[in-house]
Symmetry: C2
Subunit: 403 residues, 2 copies
């Protein structure tokens, strides 16, 4: 029913907007490139007479059909700087083609396509801003005042973009019955374990700590080792231990130190300060809590050992969400019907689907990422896998429509 | 003979140039502040009818007296950004006051005062540029083309400063018989061990490595720990080991990781690349060689363990220099005569004295640094210690003049 070849050509065409061979995809939220691809999306939706609105987060919400109950398909067209072509855009463009091709065969539901604004959080923090606003997670005051690197607020950019719409158009006030998001895995598991489809059962809990260790910066030459308070030694003694701890709980836990800033960062000066983040994730709240306690205790005890002052702040927390069991079952059945090898799994990254669970019955579909690469121009998913994902989405929408 | 109170007031006065209560001393080489303090120095030297020249490195060389053989006193007036008042300036201003007060009692030697250009190497690398040029260590082509952060070459700044002089004025062609440098210790040893004066027997050997470890940056969430190539884990596993290795050879060895740059440096991305420096110093060439081999082997073996690609480059090497035994003996005798508690020690930091050993008989005098702080506005040496150093310098010059 859905024209897969048309999907591939549409995806190829729209992927050109913001793409650069050297730097990858540059479609920062509400940037010139993001606005260009959004206008292209709107143009195509107008051709099929979709009823297109935007809400006060600039989310594009396009409805086809007159039925009151709706099945929504969505994701995001924005990218991180120097990102890939698939993250987000795959789900939106697959949804677009599906709606074009299925709109006339729907029996009991309307179809909605959603492009969420600023999912990546690369231009304005936090991420998932559009879905967070439209579902009532964030206050408008909070989101609107966020500034990008050039000092431009989310509100200013929204106004200038032409996509600022009415608060009354929020999905919160017009919730679709179902929300399905098709996305690349962004990790290596499906490929390495030989699965064609991943079915996330939910999104894991997350806690991000920001740690500052302070010692004393003196000259590297004249200061004997035993007289030093070297903040880098503090980091050194814990980073590999956190990894080893997480490795023992491999299936249940991930710990990552992603940001490290050393001061004064001069070759012949002892590091007087090291600031770093610890990103801790699990789908098991006990595991997360134990890991967080372990991390904090290790940081404190190593700081004591090394005579460092330490401060630990929680920068971000997100409680896990679980997707709708019925929807998951329908996606499983779709895979079985299509004879695709699938894996039930957790999503270890955040997605707009996360906040959509507040207002709709939600499911997600993952397709494999080659070598697990993502947020880089090397991000890649084979055509065959892109089509498999779209076929599962198609079957799922058909099955949901029958309910 | 030397007026110590005048020294203190002169030091206080000249220390105001470039000083800011919040940021410390800002006298980057040939900056506005450095030029201002240099002009003040020249003005005072003109008052005592010194014969002042500059060479092609912009070093200020001021001679008083007609005797062919000369005793030179020198250091540098430039500072690191946000530095202290004492590093370098102490030696120049002490020398200035000493020459003012002793010029008429010298029997067998002229006196020379030297302010070396760009000792710190904070504006143009490498450090010790002025002393390196005037003693023939660096080629003019190499030094002149070095650029500061704004793209200004050393040559351009020299020309603009008004201090560019003739190559024929280099100390290499008019070598003083003796060169004495009075300097703060920049480390905590004298203070902690209760010494009033340090007498460096030489400057240690140095090797600086630049190491790049490359893993793979993927998203922190979706990538299981066992699938990762995390470059930060490589650094983590070695940094504390290097410290522990150096601690065992405390008196003989120092190892410091000073610069650490992590890519992409995003909280939810696995560090795909870590670049860092390893600064290794010893006065014992076997210890330095063994330590360097240890460091390189550990880096390689940890990189193997962690599946990281690694490259190790030597960024800088300096072979140790030893000061003149007779001059050291004379400084020792001066301390004894003045009843000052002194310690023979190595200088673990570079000084202009290092290159002066190529053309003169060299000695150095250290005074204690409170808490070993240096290259920061907290850098401090008590008046009493400043005067002790000047008294030792005075006695030393007198004794050398008798020879």
């Amino acid at each position: 029913m859905v024209n897969y070849a048309k999907f591939l050509s549409t995806f190829e065409e729209l992927s050109k907007i913001g793409w650069d061979e050297n730097t990858g995809m540059n479609r920062l939220s509400l940037s010139e490139n993001d606005i260009k691809v959004r206008k292209e999306l709107v143009k195509r939706l107008q051709k099929i007479n979709a009823k297109i609105v935007t809400d006060d987060a600039g989310n594009i919400i396009a409805k086809v059909g007159e039925k009151e109950q709706a099945i929504a398909i969505g994701s995001h067209l924005d990218s991180v700087p120097h990102g890939g072509r698939f993250d987000g855009a795959y789900g939106v463009i697959a949804g677009l083609v599906l709606i074009e091709d299925m709109k006339d065969i729907m029996k009991n539901h309307s179809l909605i396509l959603i492009d969420f604004t600023n999912e990546e959080g690369s231009r304005w923090t936090p991420s998932l801003m559009g879905s967070g606003l439209t579902t009532g997670v964030f206050s408008k005051e909070f989101a609107y005042l966020q500034k990008d690197r050039d000092g431009i607020t989310f509100k200013e950019a929204l106004e200038k973009s032409g996509f600022l719409g009415d608060e009354r158009n929020r999905l919160l006030y017009n919730p679709p019955k179902y929300y399905i998001e098709l996305h690349i895995e962004q990790g290596p598991v499906l490929e390495r374990e030989g699965f064609q489809i991943g079915i996330p059962t939910g999104i894991v809990s997350l806690r991000v700590l920001e740690v500052t260790m302070k010692g004393e910066s003196n000259q590297a030459g004249p200061t004997p080792i035993s007289y030093r308070k070297d903040a880098l030694i503090g980091l050194s003694k814990i980073a590999y231990r956190f990894r080893d701890y997480a490795l023992k709980k491999e299936d249940k836990l991930r710990i990552t130190i992603g940001i490290v800033n050393v001061k004064p960062n001069v070759y012949n000066a002892i590091p007087g300060e090291v600031k770093f983040t610890v990103d801790i994730r699990s789908y098991d709240d006990n595991v997360l809590e134990n890991a967080t306690n372990y991390v904090i205790n290790e940081i404190k005890s190593v700081s004591d050992e090394e005579n460092l002052d330490v401060s630990i702040e929680t920068k971000w927390t997100a409680r896990k969400v679980e997707f709708d069991k019925d929807v998951i079952g329908i996606i499983e059945n779709s895979c079985k019907k299509l004879n695709l090898k699938y894996k039930l799994m957790w999503s270890w990254a955040g997605h707009d689907a996360q906040y959509m669970t507040r207002i709709s019955r939600v499911g997600m579909i993952f397709v494999p990422s080659v070598n697990g690469r993502s947020h880089t121009k090397e991000e890649y998913t084979k055509d065959e896998d892109l089509i498999n994902g779209l076929r599962v989405l198609e079957e799922t929408v058909k099955a949901l429509d029958e309910r």
